[in-house]
Amino acid sequence: MNPAITQEVTTEKFSFTTKAKNIPGNLAIWAAILAEMSEFAVMFMVYFLAKVHNPELFYEGPTRLNTTAGTANTLIMLTSSFFVVRSVMAIRSDQLKQATRWLWGAVACGMLYLIIKYFEYQWNATQGLDTETNIFYGVYYYVTFNHFLHVGWGSAGLIWVIYRINTGIYTKTEHEGLINMALYWHMIDLAWITIFPLLYVIR
């Protein structure tokens, strides 16, 4: 068999590329995103169940949290997602430098989010709140710290994508890794916009 054809067949067979089926990114990232969304869904179910069994604690709980920090982090997460969308749009118009600038903006948002969260946890500690205070704060720490980790490794992923653009691996026509990372980052954003009303706002 012609080696070129063999190569093509092999690539086709093992490729996760699913452009034909109209899926943004590839199937591997969607497996990850759906798994993560399910994981957060389980946490939200725990929240709802704990809430109906402990109505007083869940009524008082949000009032002792720092709403300003929660709101600031929501605005930051939404803005970081917006930056990531603009980066994808920039690379599609072959503006590689611009694409990395938008991504650095998203990384800066990620860092700011982590710093605010760190100070929020410190602030909680001075209020005498910790994981054992009561079940509301147990759920709060479990869910928000889990999300905190996602923002951490998500930011590292964004830096990896910037490196790939800078080294010429991602181009106007081939940048599936950027799309995958963008989708994953939006998933982190989706989780946060759900966490914010559940833990900080609704009583």
Binding site: W30, M37, P197
Partner: protein, 98 residues
């Protein structure tokens, strides 16, 4: 859609997401918890989720199953917020072991 129109749409949606967030934070500080405020919070979450799924993740015209799964998430969670607010005792009874 041209690139410029697309950029304008994304910019406008970002502004809408920010406005909705500030609005729900304002509600949290001002309004007493009640059905109307809970329903508004749930609606705000549904709208924000839908914007991100449809426009940021670009699922609006994508594969039907993925789009439906992701959109359904933001029907289910807001609905649960309202159901849990309305029938907490009933749900607590159904989910008790004893």
């Amino acid at each position: 859609m041209t690139q410029n129109t697309q950029i304008k749409l994304i910019d406008a949606l970002w502004l809408l997401l920010i406005t909705l967030t500030l609005f729900s934070a304002y509600m949290a500080e001002r309004a007493n918890p009640g059905f109307i405020s809970i329903a508004i919070m749930a609606a705000v979450l549904a709208i924000k989720g839908r914007i991100i799924v449809d426009h940021f993740m670009e699922l609006k015209h994508a594969h039907k199953l993925l789009r439906s799964l992701m959109r359904t998430y933001f029907y289910v969670i807001p609905s649960l917020i309202i159901i849990v607010y309305l029938f907490p005792e009933q749900i607590a009874k159904w989910t008790s072991l004893s």
